[in-house]
C-alpha cells in the first residue's frame, strides 16, 4: 500500500501540479459579484503566456469573436467575463493536463484531447437537454475530472506487475484498483487538488464523484452530466487508459439528466465532429 507516500505528496505543495498565482487571483476575483473589468484585465496581463493565449483564443474560430481582439480588455468586453475565465482556465489546465502518463498508458496528446472532449460534450449535453446548469461550469468540471491521475501516475512503478496481474481478471472499475494500491482513487486526488486550488465546492464535488454520480452530495445533476460525457469519450477510445471500458453508464445519471438511448447514440456518433470543432483549443 502506497497510501502514506501519496499522502506525503498531497501534503507537499512543491510536488503537486500547480496553477500560476495569476490564475488563482483571476479565479478569486471572478467569484466576487462586483468584478471590475479593468482590474481583471490588469491581473491577467501580469502573465504574458496567459495574455498571449487569451488574445490568440479570443480570435479563434471556436470563440467566434465579432471583431478582431488585440488586448485582454477587448477580449473581456467582446466575449464577456465568463468566456475569458474559461480561456484562462483552459490555458492553466493545458499546462497541467498535457504530460505523458505512461503508467496509465496515456500520452500527453490523448490526455489533453480527451479532457477537452469530456468538457465540450458535458457542455453540449447541458444545452441539448436544456438543464439548469451553467454550461461553462459543465465545461470546466469535465475538463478537470482526470487531473488526479497525474499525481497517481508517479506511484505506479513499484506495483505495476501486481496491477497487471489484477487487471487480467478485473471485473470492477479501475478506480477500485487505484484505491487498493494507492489508498486513493484518482477522483479523490482530483478533489484534493481542486480544493487546494480554491475551486468552488460545486466543482470539487463533481470531480470527486464523476464515476459514481449517485454519491454526489451537492450537485448530482452536473455530476451525472460529466459522468455520461466521460464514459462516452472512453467508449470512443479517445484517451482510453489502462482502466479500459470498466465503468458502465450509471442508470442514476440517465435518470437525473433525462438522457435517452437515442441521445447516447447521437452524442457518440458526433464525437469526431466535436473533436474537429475543438481544433483551435487542442493546439492552445
Amino acid at each position: 500500500m502506497l497510501k502514506s507516500k501519496v499522502d506525503e505528496v498531497l501534503q507537499d505543495v512543491n510536488k503537486l501540479p500547480a496553477i500560476s498565482s495569476v490564475v488563482s487571483k483571476v479565479l478569486e476575483k471572478l467569484q466576487k459579484p462586483d468584478v471590475n473589468i479593468a482590474d481583471l484585465a490588469q491581473e491577467i496581463s501580469k502573465d504574458p503566456a496567459i495574455t498571449a493565449n487569451v488574445i490568440k483564443l479570443s480570435n479563434s474560430a471556436y470563440y467566434r469573436a465579432s471583431k478582431p481582439i488585440r488586448t485582454v480588455q477587448e477580449a473581456l468586453m467582446t466575449l464577456g467575463i465568463k468566456t475569458v475565465k474559461e480561456i484562462v482556465l483552459l490555458t492553466a489546465a493545458k499546462g497541467i493536463l498535457s504530460q505523458d502518463l505512461n503508467s496509465y498508458q496515456l500520452e500527453a496528446a490523448q490526455l489533453w484531447t480527451s479532457s477537452l472532449l469530456v468538457a465540450e460534450l458535458s457542455s453540449k449535453i447541458v444545452q441539448h437537454k436544456k438543464l439548469k446548469i451553467d454550461k461553462d461550469l459543465a465545461f470546466t468540471s469535465g475538463l478537470l475530472c482526470s487531473v488526479g491521475k497525474i499525481v497517481l501516475a508517479q506511484f505506479f512503478s513499484p506495483v505495476m506487475m501486481q496491477i497487471k496481474t489484477d487487471l487480467k481478471d478485473n471485473q470492477e472499475p479501475f478506480s477500485v484498483l487505484e484505491k487498493k494500491y494507492f489508498g486513493y482513487t484518482h477522483m479523490e486526488v482530483s478533489e484534493n487538488l481542486l480544493k487546494r486550488w480554491n475551486f468552488p465546492q460545486e466543482l470539487t464535488d463533481v470531480v470527486a464523484n464523476y464515476l459514481t454520480p449517485e454519491n454526489s452530495k451537492s450537485n448530482p445533476l452536473l455530476t451525472s452530466v460529466v459522468h455520461i460525457a466521460s464514459i462516452l469519450i472512453v467508449v470512443s477510445g479517445i484517451g482510453i487508459d489502462i482502466g479500459g471500458e470498466s465503468v458502465p453508464i450509471s442508470p442514476f445519471a440517465l435518470n437525473q439528466t433525462g438522457v435517452t438511448e437515442a441521445d447516447i447514440e447521437t452524442y457518440f456518433v458526433h464525437i469526431p465532429d466535436l473533436q474537429a470543432g475543438l481544433a483551435d483549443l487542442l493546439n492552445v
Binding site: 498508458q105 490523448q110 505495476m160 496491477i163 497487471k164 487487471l167 487480467k168 471485473q171 472512453v234 467508449v235 470512443s236 477510445g237 479517445i238 482510453i240 487508459d241 489502462i242 482502466g243 479500459g244 471500458e245 470498466s246 458502465p248 453508464i249 442508470p251 440517465l254 438511448e261 447516447i264 447514440e265 447521437t266 457518440f268 456518433v269 464525437i271 469526431p272 465532429d273 473533436q275
Partner: protein, 167 residues
C-alpha cells in the same frame, strides 16, 4: 524503429494508408481497427470505424469513414490505389471492447459486437482472410502497424507485444 520512419496517427473515424518505413497508429475502445497488409509490396492500411451502420441514414454520406458499411469498401479502394488488390493482403482486426452488461443502454452494450460482426461478414464476402483478431473484452487497445514488415505492436491493459503474423 528506423530513424526514417514516420508515425501516422489514424484518428477516430479515419482511414490511412502507409508503406515501407511508415508506422500507422490508432487507439481503440469499442471502435474497431481493421488492418490490411500486403507483405510483398509493404503496403498497409488501417480503418478505424465507430459503428457498423449509420443509425440516422444521413451521416454516412458526409462521414463515410465512421461506419463499417461505408468505410470498408473505401479501405479496399485505397489499397487498390497503392497497387494492392484483393488476394495480395490479409486482414487483422482489433478493438470492439465492451463490458456494459446488464445496464440500460442497449446501444452501448452492442457497439463492439456489431462492429466485429460487420467486419467479419465483409471480409468473408470479399474473400479476404482474417488471420489475427484481438477483440472484445473491456480493454482499450493501441495498435501500431509497421509497414516495413507488417508487424503490429499491440498495447492493452499494461501489456505490450508484437504480432508478426502477416500472411
Amino acid at each position: 524503429m528506423s530513424i526514417k520512419s514516420k508515425i501516422i496517427n489514424v484518428g477516430i473515424a479515419d482511414i490511412k494508408v502507409g508503406k515501407d518505413t511508415d508506422v500507422l497508429r490508432t487507439t481503440l475502445g469499442s471502435c474497431i481497427g481493421i488492418v490490411l497488409y500486403d507483405p510483398e509490396q509493404k503496403v498497409g492500411a488501417i480503418s478505424h470505424i465507430m459503428l457498423a451502420k449509420d443509425p440516422t441514414g444521413k451521416d454516412a454520406s458526409k462521414f463515410p469513414h465512421k461506419y463499417g458499411e461505408t468505410a470498408l469498401p473505401i479501405l479496399i479502394e485505397m489499397m487498390k490505389q497503392q497497387g494492392s488488390n484483393i488476394g495480395q493482403y490479409s486482414c487483422r482486426m482489433f478493438g470492439g471492447a465492451s463490458m456494459f452488461k446488464g445496464i440500460n443502454s442497449q446501444f452501448l452494450q452492442n457497439i463492439g459486437e456489431q462492429n466485429i460482426a460487420i467486419v467479419k461478414k465483409f471480409m468473408e464476402e470479399k474473400k479476404i482472410p482474417v488471420i489475427v483478431e484481438d477483440v472484445a473484452g473491456n480493454e482499450g487497445r493501441t495498435i501500431s502497424l509497421y509497414c516495413d514488415d507488417g508487424r503490429v505492436l499491440l498495447k492493452k491493459a499494461g501489456m505490450e507485444k508484437y504480432l508478426y503474423k502477416v500472411r
